[in-house]
Symmetry: C2
Subunit: 416 residues, 2 copies
């Protein structure tokens, strides 16, 4: 009997009426003969309510106690969902992460899963029970409650699916899949029936907020087929139809490597760039600039160092826009003085646009097509960065939507 893991987000669990709908959907799958494990998030708003209480008490809360506090949100969800399933005549049992147990390291608020014991859950499944496990949390080796950090329920679901060797992990969410680009920007953006793990990783890291990136990494590490699909459909829709809806992140070998197919256009609006001009071109420069930035826990994305002229070079990197002021202050102060750089400049109004697709690996034509399209629209490219499956460019943020639309059309993504 195939085992399927369902994950439901906070919106799907947002009220007792919605929880009953989740129960109806789960019961339908169980009726069809599947073993089912459900990993729900906290009811929407609950985690914020709890953290708000903590904030009323202290502005510098202890991470351990925050995890004690926040983990209750999911425990409420699993109990309510078990009750809803039982009222439909199903045998159901809920577990907190520590009861399974889901063992993590002891990094409170951002713990990483180390192991999941499948014995207890398997026994329940074999007895015909639906098993419901709190997302987002586990316990460390000393029995302290830990949480995986925001969005960690996706990661929990994929990890549980991997530990139980499930045949598929279904992530029910408020979007109906992964699109060639954001439909709010390009109206004829098309839903992808499948994406490869690598493409999904790029799409997620480039700002398509469908799945938490760590859950995609987990899916990749364990080659767990993971499907993103809508929780807003009729819970009693035909199961066959539901099972093929959404977007499947697949681990099948690409059988059509020769054909250059582009998966989608990803973008990230909130970038900022910082340039250090006229620094001596000698070994250790990159470290001397980026070391202090990393120490301040600021994430650096694109990095470019130009060809030097007369022993001097320019060095540019991008950071999330929210960290721009902090990063600029660091660089324009100590770092600039230390390096005897001529000048530091920055721009907080830039965006990144990327063409993503496994099919582009061996096709240089993709890059030239991309650059020509942007050039025809009069959009200046400020920085370029490439990987095996994507080409990213940094542009003025005011051209971002235009660039996304033009590229979507140029690569014919609206056509299946």
């Amino acid at each position: 009997m195939a085992l399927i893991v369902h994950k439901y987000g906070g919106t799907s669990m947002g009220s007792t009426e919605r929880i009953k709908n989740v129960a109806r959907r789960v019961a339908k799958w169980h009726d069809a003969g599947y073993q089912i494990v459900v990993v729900p998030s906290a009811m929407s708003g609950e985690t914020n309510r709890l953290l708000g209480l903590a904030k009323e008490i202290t502005t510098e809360p202890d991470p351990r106690e925050l995890d004690m506090l926040a983990s209750t949100g999911e425990q409420v969800s699993v109990a309510l969902l078990a009750l809803a399933l039982q009222s439909l005549g199903k045998q159901a049992v809920s577990y907190a992460g520590w009861q399974v147990p889901i063992v993590t390291d002891n990094a409170y608020n951002k713990a990483r899963i180390q192991s999941i014991d499948d014995a207890r859950v398997k026994k329940d499944l074999d007895a015909g029970r639906v098993v419901i496990i709190t997302g987002f949390q586990g316990r460390d080796a000393d029995g302290h409650i830990t949480t995986l950090g925001r969005g960690g329920s996706d990661t929990s679901a994929v990890a549980v699916a991997a530990a139980l060797k499930a045949s598929e992990c279904l992530i029910y969410t408020d979007v109906d899949g992964v699109y060639t680009t954001d439909p709010r920007v390009v109206s004829d953006a098309r839903r992808l029936r499948t994406v490869t793990f690598e493409e999904m990783l790029e799409m997620a890291s480039l700002g398509s907020k469908v799945l938490q990136i760590r859950s995609v990494e987990f899916a990749g590490n364990y080659r767990m087929p993971t499907r993103v699909l809508s929780s807003l459909t009729d819970p009693l829709m035909p199961l066959e139809e539901e099972a093929n809806s959404g977007t499947l992140i697949s681990f099948e070998e690409d059988t059509n490597m020769e054909q250059a197919t582009i998966t989608g256009i990803a973008f990230n609006r909130d970038e900022a760039k910082i340039t250090v001009m006229g620094v001596p071109d000698k070994p250790g420069i990159a470290y001397q600039i980026l070391g202090p930035v990393a120490e301040a826990n600021i994430e650096v994305d694109m990095i470019i160092q130009n060809q030097s002229v007369e022993g001097k070079t320019d060095f540019t990197f991008t950071v999330p826009r929210g960290e721009y002021d902090k990063a600029l202050k660091l660089i324009d102060g100590d770092v600039k003085a230390h390096l005897k750089a001529a000048h530091v400049m920055g721009d907080a109004k830039v965006s990144k646009v990327s063409v993503v697709g496994v099919g582009m690996r061996s096709h240089v034509g993709i890059a030239s097509q991309m650059f020509r399209t942007l050039s025809e629209e009069g959009i200046n490219i400020q920085m370029i960065s490439t990987s095996e499956i994507k080409i990213s460019v940094l542009i003025d943020e005011k051209y971002m939507e235009l660039a996304v639309r033009a590229l979507h059309k140029a690569f014919g993504l609206e056509k299946a």
Copy 2:
């Protein structure tokens, strides 16, 4: 260094401001050199909110899932209190019952504590930490979360105090102690500085709702000195004064056995009586009448069987008023037919008034004083029941306040 356990009810934990006040009080005790364990209830209203969600889903909730759900209330409390203590510069750590662990049987919703492991808590205390433990809950031998039932936080606190061999357990509540009777009925009712365990047990079981009766039993079994005191005082009031406020339930031998002192007048408004008339006076009658009542989980309080006349007798017992209809139906149906009883009658408008005091043990004068007082007020006594430390009478409920006031005065309870 003396170890003290503090217990705070839901009202004391009702908001983040109040939790900060609890933290100030706890910190004051810690500053004075005591080791402190705190057992707080859920924030007031929280348990009802959670059970309300369950009720929206099903009218017949599974007890196990209710415990998963309801136990989150106290977990939120302990985390918030730990944060509040930390913001005062104290080292504090919170534990859910399962983390200590507090091990219970597996009777969900009304579990009984079997053992408490003191190792983890002792280690924290020795390291100078304030330890905060969820009230009301534990885990069974298989790691399922259990709750002790409503009011169970008092029991948790006393049990934790006993397990840790604390020198005193302080129950902070919204009354400032145990009174000679309810001050709402008798305005000059006087607060008792100490009561014996046996007296407290009678006062609690007779309707003085200051402490949950199981917590008093626990205190008795472990001879744990337990003090009921107010959480509404200034948290920074002098510690010496606070430590002697309220009412101490003591286990000192009574050194003054010869003097007949009455502790207080307890009462229970909500009684109902049922009389089975003209039943054959032969062995097994009591069982045949009360067996079905017990099977229906109806608690029976007073029981009286009159002297038989011509081989027939009358049998009367009392039940909580809320169970009256159910009990009467049982007795007036099958039981009456089976016993061939002449007649079944009942009265749901009766109340019980009791004179309580260890000092009355060997003093028949107490009973006659009680009966004379009621007689002088023209109050008819319907039933009488006695134990070593109390005399209870059942009277028409409309005379209850009058009886309580008259007895309070007759025994001079307003005088210290």
